[in-house]
Amino acid sequence: MRKKYTIPTYFAFGWLGFAVFLAVFGSFIPIDGYQVIHGDFIDSPPFTSGHWFGVDSNGYDIFSGIINGARLSIFIAVVSVGLGGFIGSLLGVTAAYYRGRYDSVVNTAFNVVLSVPNLVLALALVAVLATNVDINEAVPTWRRLITLVMSLTIVIIPILGRIARAATLAWSGREFIVAARSMGMRDRHIISRHIVPNVLPALIAVGFLAVGVVIIAEASLSLLGVGIPDGASWGGMIARGRNDLEYNPHALYIPIIALAFTVISTNHVGDVLRGKLDRREGRL
């Protein structure tokens, strides 16, 4: 009883594919870079020839900004969710498998991190990690990028780690695990051959939701003035476009639409995957 995909699902996959395509191959599209100033076109509305999405009040082309922003926002999201998911599931799976004191330490650590709201935690971590010893010297962009990814990774670790822990707890009581253990199979092999393949689908489903969380967090940090500077990411474009709402609203709403579509799509894909998973569990 395979359920057919609905129209929103096709739309979500399509949009994500398109955004990832822009992020990966954006530099091959023959248009000017996002930092080129088009002095003659300042404040042009969308659908101006040569500038599909218009030009903002600094003279930056919004379409090339969106492409570059896709690269940065998706890079940040994928790297921090990938890294955070890896570390989190490593901790979560081993904690649930070995139980005991190690498990309670890991679980308490997750609870400690989770007790500070995502955005507040990311804000505090970015502030700590991205400060120069000499306060008058500007922090270079690459260092901001690294600290941003690190902070968001720390935010993601307990979110995915908890899912991994809960799923492992459910699976490690199953008969085939007990059988494998009583046959003398090594713990390492039980985890890698029997537990990880079963835990992974749930993690991937929640991972899509986490990508949405990270994209929103990155944009919020940009709005608060601690993100990637110079309007390079979608959040940065929103933060910059917000300053001249009155004369140039498209500089604000185009990146907002791009960001909202992406988050809606990742959430929808995560939801669909989780639904499929529930049906699979139901059949077992």
Binding site: P8, T108, N111, V112, S115, V116, P117, N118, L119, V120, L123, A124, L125, A127, V128, T131, N132, V133, D134, I135, G212, I216, A219, S220, L223, L224, G225, V226, I238, R242, L245, E246, P249, L252, Y253, I256, L259, A260, V263, I264, N267, H268, D271
Partner: protein, 321 residues
């Protein structure tokens, strides 16, 4: 039996609180650069020594942590240093006295508005489950629940504030000063924070209501001839509300984060703005106290919800829960 469980939960919460605040004080210590240089660039030698002692830079982290903790318990949240001044700072407490009520009011309004709209909507969708109306509205709600609140806020600020010029785009007016202006200044922030919550809450309530509607006592009630409205509101809503309550507690974290950004979008100068400014200007003691307050509020809120479960759903009160 149940008291033992409650005590255990309480002990866990206290442990987590202790670890959070301790980690924050280590983290604050890690801030690179000399805090004295940043807080008092033009201070005299004595001034520097006094500040060094006040910030606890001359004692180890553990001693420093406990002195901070006892200050906090006595209601002393540290000093907010003026960047130009030589010594004089403002107590963080007096800044909190201005900022905290604003943020609490915004969150209270948001929660009330969200629940007031989400409950009837969820009940309506459950009543119409699997019809075309339900499917369309549910899909729209799903999309809406994914849109970040700042996006809604900025869009509202543009359309309602700038183009239609109906509501003030920035600023906050206290209730005591002018009640009608107070509500006008908070309409857009509260709406932008609640739309996502309404969507999330009504979807959760819909699922739980549908499950409860399948139970035997509902069939019984409707064969007794009770009206649909009576059954939905008086019989089905209460046993279906536990997921909604858990989610409300969990969403508090997202709400605090969302409020930080929304306060910055609408320039409301609340708690979130205070925190952002504290981080930007490296107010060591203030950062530590503010983040600790958020963590405490979040944990306490979750504990309260645990208790509320038992109030709403008597089944949890027994040994099985």
């Amino acid at each position: 039996m149940k008291y033992r469980v409650a005590l255990k939960n309480l002990a866990k919460a206290v442990l987590v609180l202790f670890l959070v605040t301790f980690s924050i004080s280590i983290l604050v210590r890690w801030l690179p650069g000399d805090p004295i240089e940043i807080l008092m660039p033009f201070a005299t030698e004595e001034g520097r020594a006094a500040l060094r002692a006040e910030l606890g830079l001359d004692i180890n982290v553990v001693q420093y942590y406990f002195s901070w903790l006892f200050d906090l318990l006595r209601g002393d949240f540290g000093v907010w240093y003026a960047s130009t001044g030589d010594g004089g700072g403002v107590p963080v407490r007096s800044m909190l006295a201005v900022a905290l009520p604003r943020s609490l009011l915004i969150m209270l309004y948001t929660m009330v508005v969200s629940i007031v709209f989400a409950v009837p909507l969820g009940i309506f969708l459950a009543y119409r489950a699997e019809t075309r109306t339900d499917k369309t509205i549910s899909n729209v709600l799903f999309a809406v629940s994914s849109i970040p609140s700042f996006a809604i806020g900025l869009a509202l600020a543009f359309v309602v504030g700038v183009q239609l010029d109906l509501l003030p785009v920035i600023g906050y007016v206290p209730f005591a000063e002018n009640p009608s202006e107070h509500f006008r200044s908070l309409v857009m922030p509260v709406v932008s924070l609640s739309i996502g919550l309404i969507a999330t809450f009504s979807r959760l309530l819909r699922v739980d209501m549908i499950a409860t509607l399948r139970e035997d006592f509902v069939t019984m009630a409707s064969s007794k001839g009770l009206s649909n409205m009576w059954i939905l509101w008086r019989h089905v809503l209460r046993p279906s509300s536990s997921t909604l309550m858990t989610s409300a507690a969990l969403q508090m974290g997202a709400l605090i984060g969302g409020a930080v950004v929304i306060e910055s979008v609408f320039a409301l100068n609340g708690f979130g703005m205070l925190l952002t400014t504290a981080i930007a200007t490296r107010q060591y003691l203030a950062i530590q106290s503010l983040v600790a307050l958020i963590a405490i509020a979040y944990i306490v809120f979750n504990l309260i919800v645990d208790v509320l479960y038992a109030v709403v759903d008597p089944r949890v009160r027994g040994g099985r829960g």
